[in-house]
Symmetry: C2
Subunit: 207 residues, 2 copies
């Protein structure tokens, strides 16, 4: 998406990013292979050929390293959301952003799905995932606030951001609940449905 900008960062910054990425990928690979419970920081550091102590300069726990991928995905999603034309409403823009991300199917995307699957079978990672999402909620809320030009004290941006991310998370989780093909089309339909619900309002009565 936005990497290897030549003189944007010097050798220093590039090496940092490389180290971080190496640790992130090593953590994910080992976590998938052996399970998070049979995973030590030392193994991750060895796999990435980084000193044990250095690991903690980048991540404060192995869980953080494993889940770091979803942070990247969320950032990409929010960037896409910001890039949508201002004529689109909030939910519309979000829907389009999700579909764009889904149809990219590059490395980041596959890594993201791998992490989500891993989290799905490793409940102990859920807190970490939620922590990452919560951090991104702030960013998304700010983007929403700008889009609708809401007042400072309004709770709408925060609530909308939270609801929308939660809805996406729920749909994705349900989507990989049974054994399914990685049918992006089906997931896209589910996204449309849930966004329609958010738009229509969440109140209901016994039918």
């Amino acid at each position: 998406m936005s990497h290897d900008a030549a003189p944007l960062m010097g050798r220093r910054e590039r090496k940092k990013q490389a180290t971080r990425a190496a640790l992130r990928e090593a953590a994910l690979r080992l976590a998938i292979r052996d399970g998070v419970e049979n995973l030590t920081v030392e193994r991750i550091a060895d796999e990435a050929d980084i000193a044990l102590r250095t690991f903690f300069n980048y991540f404060s726990s192995k869980e953080e390293a494993v889940v770091a991928t979803v942070s990247s995905a969320a950032e990409a999603l929010i960037a896409e959301f910001r890039a949508r034309p201002r004529t689109e409403s909030v939910l519309r823009a979000f829907r389009e952003a999700v579909l764009v991300i889904l149809n990219e199917s590059d490395d980041a995307n596959r890594h993201y799905l791998a992490v989500v699957r891993l989290i799905h079978r490793t409940p102990s990672l859920v807190p970490q995932q939620l922590a990452v999402l919560a951090a991104q909620e702030k960013a998304l809320a700010e983007a929403i606030r700008e889009r609708v030009d809401a007042a400072e004290g309004s709770v709408y941006p925060a609530v909308c951001a939270s609801a929308v991310l939660a809805a996406l998370r729920i749909v994705v989780n349900q989507w990989l609940e049974p054994e399914r093909e990685p049918s992006a089309a089906l997931l896209g339909r589910e996204v449309d449905l849930v966004i329609a619900e958010l738009a229509a309002g969440l109140d209901r009565q016994r039918s």
Copy 2:
């Protein structure tokens, strides 16, 4: 609300509850006094006069013990929600349940506010809080599903539960952002506003 039922639990279960409560309250007290970072499991165990090893029979980390109070509060809220008459719509019933809980102002309530304040000034606890909320989301989603008699595969209950809990969390957080009186009335008004937004739908355009 529903305690000390005489022969509902034998001495065994009662002692377990007492131990758990003692640890929970000791953890909260020390965390408020010294800050979560200057807090060790050993100190908590000593304060509650429980063996260090025994602590881990109840909680797997000090954070879990500190945040355990919000779990109780959420359970009480959901129980109240379930008790609302079925003629009330989902959001209406939730609003009433929140107001009932807010106006109780018993010990549990004060403890809950204390925990929220603590989390508010201790970002490292947010993941734990979200984990607890996520666990309760399932219960609330099930309650919502029963209320509206939704189908099994529907995402509405989960999305609604998540959105509603997130909205409540956001409102409470914003409510204790500046120095305010513990004015339950003001909080009640904010709850009404945010629930009205959820009911009206979350889509918006630049005005």
